[in-house]
Amino acid sequence: MNTPFLKRLWQGFERTRVGRSIFRVGLPQSNLERSQAMVSSFLLHVQPAKVNRHSLRASYSLGLGLVSLYLFLILIGTGVLLMFYYVPSTERAYNVMKDLQFVVSAGLVLRNMHRWAAHLMVLFVVLHLCRVYYTGAYKRPREFNWVIGVGLFLLTLGLSFTGYLLPWDQLAFWAITVGTSIAGYAPVLGPKLKYLLLGGNVVGQEALIRFYALHVIVLPAVAGLAVAVHLWRVRKDGGLSRPDEPADLVQQVELSQLPVNKTYGLMELARGRTPQVDQNPEDQVFSWPHLVFRELLLFLLVTAMVLFLAIFWNAPLEELANPIHPPNPAKAPWYFLGLQELVSYSAFWGGVVVPGLLVLALVLLPYLDRGRRGVGRWFARERAVANSVFSLCLLVAVVLTLIGSLFRGPNWGWVEPWKSTPAITEEH
């Protein structure tokens, strides 16, 4: 008997009446049970019973989408715990931050986890977007899932941005003041949008309560739903994109061409195919354990990463928000600093036209770039032009963000971060 003790204990529990009622299948012992485990579990059934080896390759997906999902889950968990303490009031919010740090058990670690996971999520969502682009994975039939993904990217920014205000310190106040003023540069609708967002002309109690409601209910609910649809479509579109996918992957069933005096099974009407059709059985492995275990391991890794950051580095907290003492320079959150840099050249072109066109281009991309070649491979030579254009945009965005973050000092003047910053003289 070589079975580990914990496994035996678990199996003993499974065989009881209660265990059976909960897990139905239990730890699978045969291939049949491995399939049943996937299909009968609510949490697992969004994934297929068998999965293509190519999809498991870490060097292909880098697990970036999953990491983003896990960060989202960690943010929901820590966020709900923080809600037990937080009060969205300009009088009390900052005091809550201080109490979390000084008297609440694990309060500081909790806030740190939430903060760092939020920054990481923005980062990983962007990386995930880049991965999907460079592997051409947005092409048919996955066009609309790419659009949903772009939506999730914007929702992530929105979640991070609305959360940025809640500590009600100088950093929060002025970052949101700068961020919302960028929104105000849009013609016609801009000032209205800014007013709607802030509930007034300046950041104050009304803005705080609006950002709070958006941050804890509206945006997480929409994002959660969008994530569900995003994952469901991955499954329906035949899993991750692969190089060996047949070009005519999807054949829409034309109902009008079917004889009408016939009873149809669901399989005949369903769009697309199951992952098994037309595929070499040799390329398929059971999701349990090959996919599920990898996913669990990645979750442990992400948790460890966030915990590590949260234990050893504290989330920033500056002085209490003070509307009459702006820091110089007042900076937006880091992911908007590229935008702020653009705005410093031209409010209208940098703040409205360029980002507007970029988002539009991202949304329309799968409908404009309809070539079928180079899907499922990194940096495919057939996609050299598309990849170059994207890389150039990415490079510009990264450089602008770096300039905005590191090279901008008082009055948005040029500073070199390795030199000591000139003393800021206050207006007298």
Partner: protein, 462 residues
Amino acid sequence: MNDGSVRKFYGWFTVLGLLVGLLVVVGYYRDEYREWKDYQRRYVQEEERRASTPQQRAQAALIPIQVRQILLPDLNRVDRCTTCHLTVDDPSYGGYPQPLAYHPLHEQHPFEKFGCTICHRGQGRATTVADAHGNVAHWDEPMLPLRYIQASCGQCHQAADNPGAPELAHGQAVFEERGCRGCHKLGGVGGVIGPELDRVGARRSPDWLKQHFLAPATVTPGSAMPPQKFSESDLEAITLFMLSLTGEGAPGYYASMKVIPSAGEGQRLFQQKGCIGCHSIGNQGGKIGPALDNVGLRRSPEWMIQHFRDPQTVSPGSVMPRFGFTETEARALTDFLLHLRDQKVALSLPSLMGPVERGREVFRKYGCAGCHGQDGKGGVPNPNAKTAQQVPGLTYVADGYTKDELKARILKGQHEIPALDANRPPPPLYMPGWRAAIKDAELDDLVAYLVSLKPKGEDAGF
């Protein structure tokens, strides 16, 4: 099913599981260890050491290790200082070193009502030494050095009336004598050349303030303020007075308590209630009631306080009405009357002064001396001004202007000061218009004072 590939997972699960577990344990211990717990254990040890009976020792061992705090909702503060400073209210710890020292003199300001940070500043919510004492980044209020602790009295109390804070009164006197108000607004009164000072004490450190008085341009490049020459004690006093200007309100409970029954407060009340209508001081005032010049010799303080409560009870048949003074007001008025033996106090009552004396007070009130010098003698530098690079003195102002011209000039001000050299920066000091601030009667008195500045006997000078 390939068993080898599955076994590989178990290795990874073990490694990552242990890593997460380790991080949770490390996180727990870092969170559980708080430096205040060390201080509390030391306090318990000290209590055990001092215990003389086994019962006392057992009691000491039961002292809970926990955060202690004083909740001050009206002041929007929570002071956790007593988490480490556990013995502030225990006189038996007199003379102990910090953090276990006893805090004397808190009868007037009980800890449960005032906490600690309203006077000492620092960060009340914090529970580590560095954070609580406020010497950390992103905290604007480090602890006030004990040297300047009197500044905190001035947050709620009138500086001049505070017998416990003589240096604060000294600082305010320096402020008014030097005419700082000529350029700086305080409490809504003053000029507009420099910044308002209502919250300056919350923003600036003692070192910054001192440096700024002696050489303003070194800490605020381009400042228009002339360097000040102060004696060491004046410099310390005005720095302390500046530190008292924090804009900290004293709401609710605290506002009702802030009047100290001082002679100064009594004088204000005496003026405000119109006592002089019936009583006289120095032969000036009404004749209905008795003269008050020597009342302090004739009556005891207890008699006076009772008299203020209800004149009939100690002086049957008196026609003086019951004013309904509070206990504090009665004591303040009594204090003032006891001081009346001092002629200077009596003469400083505005209603007993002539226009020239009142005008001198107006000159003082609006800080004219800040630019025009003590008694209008001039001498304050104003680089690149045509008038000898100084703000002109006012001694002979009556020769050049009629009274109406003077009034017009004060009300309108003069914003463009002629420059000596057009290529250099314009003179930093200018004459603000005072129309919005000064009252008509004050203007009349001020002009009377200015005219009086000319030395006697020089009328026929030209």
